[in-house]
């Protein structure tokens, strides 16, 4: 067992129950309550995370502090957003537009290719993609590409996909009321069960 322990600790591909993966870097979400709930203290860096819910209820706003922080020094790619990201609002949130790239693929095949290439190429430090046709296979490729390109990838998916299996390191479900965002953390390294978090709506 003594010989096994360092092997288990050395590999980040082995998740151990209730063991906090402190060696894995994370990016604070900008919402202390959420960071506290996620084992590791934030969105896993260089990995794929998923936010599932109806598009428009607050997924992008939830990520804006992270986008603002990352865009100060490196490139952030937004792929296939269901609307045009509005420059005045992004600047207001502190996002540096110079480091923001908008990618608009016209077909699903191109979308999957764009996500993988943007994450893998190493130019972008963060990729935010809206991927309604994601499958376990495409998510696996995105996860590997994120690791390879050291890119933090956040994928917005419809709420109906929450029961689909996924290779994402972190999975969140999002819903909103008038004043609050309801988040349900359904998958994370060292997470047991699920966690519910409430955040004030911006």
């Amino acid at each position: 067992m003594d010989a096994l322990t360092p092997l288990l600790q050395g590999s980040r591909h082995i998740w151990r129950g209730q063991h906090h993966p402190t060696e894995h870097p994370s990016i604070p979400s900008g919402h202390p309550a959420l960071d506290q709930a996620i084992p590791g203290g934030g969105f896993p860096a260089h990995a794929l995370s998923e936010i599932m819910g109806v598009y428009g209820v607050g997924g992008l706003s939830l990520c804006l502090p992270m986008v603002a922080s990352v865009s100060q020094h490196s490139l952030v790619a937004l792929i296939n957003p269901p609307y045009t990201p509005y420059a005045p609002a992004l600047v207001y949130a502190g996002v540096k537009l110079d480091n923001l790239l908008l990618i608009l693929p016209s077909t699903d095949k191109d979308l999957q290719w764009s996500i993988e290439q943007s994450a893998k190429q190493g130019s972008a430090s963060m990729v935010l993609c809206w991927n309604p046709q994601a499958t376990p296979k495409t998510q696996r490729r995105a996860q590997l590409a994120s690791e390879q390109g050291q890119c933090t990838t956040i994928c917005f998916r419809p709420a109906a996909h929450r029961h689909q299996s996924s290779h994402a390191n972190l999975r969140l479900c999002i819903d909103a009321s008038n004043t609050e965002l309801h988040l349900e953390l359904i998958k994370a390294k060292a997470l047991v069960g699920s966690k519910h978090i409430r955040l004030a709506r911006p």
């Binding site: 428009g56 609307y83 420059a87 480091n99 290439q117």
Partner: protein, 479 residues
């Protein structure tokens, strides 16, 4: 090296490069599978004979000079390809362009031999030996089978490269001794050699010992010209390859291909040629065009032209190869291709990148451009854009999705949606709304006036809406 070269560094020193199987080399480079099967190049003129064969074919018993029928009997499964001088010429030209990186004077001496003046480049490479090492390295990297020859004059160098088996560099005395032992059939055209052989003259030494004037009168005056040529008494040389302003290169395929995947070796070859061309001129390309020539002379499919444009001029072969590979994956060939040409469009002065320990602004820009180029060349120009702010009261005029720099960043403090619909979506009248804001354009711009409010739909989405002429529109969402 022989001392006569180093002592007279300023004197021209011509190196002969003999490439006996250009067509075979080109085939093996552009079609990798050719290494594994028996490939034989046969002379076009009758009687057909083997002029070159790859290692696999030689191992099964094919020999150079063998008749086609005999070769077919020995290796019936071999691929027999007819010699095509135009392919050899194209390939030799591309080799000559690469060699220009080592010498300012490169001559295509004949269809199988190149002449390179290396005397002037000696000091640049730190001596003859490092220069020759580099040259050998370059030729090997091109996948060439070659022999070098260095003699007291250019014609001697070509002869040594072509016929000398052991010593490849000779001074004047060694060269004369070596030449006199050669057979006349080796160094003279067949008709002239036959005339001499009929007289019982078999070696060059015997030929040189004869009275040349009477020989010329009796047989052919070309005999005297050949003697003068081989002894270096004739100074005339073919014209050296010029320094072309633009890059355009074509590779004719010896077997047509019907998918773009098979073109990757040809493309890699063309890109290497292009980058050598650019490096030599301290230039970089910002766009290039690939032309795919389809097989068939009459009623054939028109040439397929594929463009590649870059955000930043480059001379990096790996970058170009990666971009072209992605670009070609989206192309479907409607007809088999038997030739590929690459043209570098606009060329720009190359700006060398400085290397920093920390990621600097230029490096960030280059990385961003790399991703933009990758996506644009695969998905189209419209598929990638950046966001910019413009000073305008009208929300739809405040952003621009283009690569242009922002004109003006307006002071902000108002609540704005992160998701915006430039063409507002018509919606049903909202139940309740708040945060009213009045926006209007100048009277000179259609005099638009809108009252914006925020509401929330049944899904919980906060919307930025306005009413115009009784119809409600959603301009954005607070995602």
């Amino acid at each position: 090296m022989s001392t006569h070269h180093s002592k007279s560094a300023r004197r021209k020193c011509w190196l002969g490069i003999f490439t006996p199987q250009l067509q075979l080399d080109q085939l093996c480079i552009t079609q990798s599978e050719m290494h594994e099967i028996e490939v034989v190049i046969v002379r076009r003129q009758k009687p057909s004979a083997v002029i070159s064969a790859n290692k696999t074919a030689l191992q099964v018993g094919i020999e150079l000079g063998q008749t086609l029928d005999r070769a077919k009997a020995i290796a019936p499964s071999a691929r027999f390809i007819e010699q095509r001088p135009e392919i050899e010429q194209e390939f030799q030209h591309s080799i000559a362009i690469q060699l220009q990186s080592m010498s300012s004077e490169v001559i295509c001496y004949d269809s199988e031999t190149l002449l390179v003046e290396i005397g002037a480049s000696e000091s640049l490479f730190g001596g003859f030996d490092p220069l020759l090492d580099k040259l050998r390295e370059l030729l090997s990297s091109l996948g060439l089978c070659f022999r070098l020859g260095l003699g007291p004059h250019p014609h001697a160098s070509t002869l040594i490269a072509r016929y000398a088996n052991t010593a490849w560099q000779m001074d004047a005395k060694e060269y004369k001794q070596w030449l006199e032992q050669r057979l006349v059939t080796e160094v003279l055209p067949l008709s002239l050699a036959d005339s001499l052989e009929a007289m019982g003259v078999h070696q060059v030494g015997q030929w040189f010992a004869l009275d040349q004037r009477s020989l010329s009168r009796r047989f052919d005056k070309r005999l005297l010209e050949f003697k003068q040529l081989y002894l270096g008494e004739t100074q005339t040389l073919p014209t050296a390859l010029g320094f072309e302003e633009t890059f355009s290169s074509k590779i004719s395929l010896q077997q047509s291909v019907d998918n773009t995947q098979s073109l990757r070796f040809v493309l890699a070859r063309l890109i290497n040629d292009l980058c050598a061309f650019l490096r030599l001129r301290q230039q970089a390309c910002i766009s290039c065009e690939l032309a795919l020539h389809h097989e068939g002379r009459r009623n054939c499919h028109p040439i397929t032209r594929i463009q590649l444009s870059l955000s930043e001029a480059t001379q990096n072969a790996a970058q170009l190869q990666s971009l072209w590979q992605q670009r070609l994956e989206t192309v479907t060939l409607e007809s088999p291709v038997d030739g590929v040409s690459l043209d570098a469009g606009q060329l720009q002065a190359y700006e060398a990148k400085t290397q920093d320990l920390l990621l600097n602004r230029n490096q960030q820009r280059t990385e961003k451009n790399g991703l933009i180029d990758l996506i644009r060349n695969r998905l189209g120009t419209e598929s990638v854009c950046t966001l910019c702010l413009y000073d305008d009261h009208r929300p739809e005029q405040q952003l621009e999705t283009s690569a242009k720099p922002p004109a003006y960043v307006m002071p902000l403090g108002l609540q704005r949606p992160v998701g915006f619909y430039p063409n507002a979506k018509p919606i049903c009248a909202p139940q309740g709304s708040h945060h009213t804001e009045y926006l209007e354009s100048g009277w000179w711009l259609n005099d638009q006036r809108r009252i914006y409010t925020i509401d929330q739909d049944s899904n919980g989405t906060k919307r930025w809406i306005y009413c115009e002429k009784g119809q409600w529109f959603c301009q954005g969402v607070f995602d």
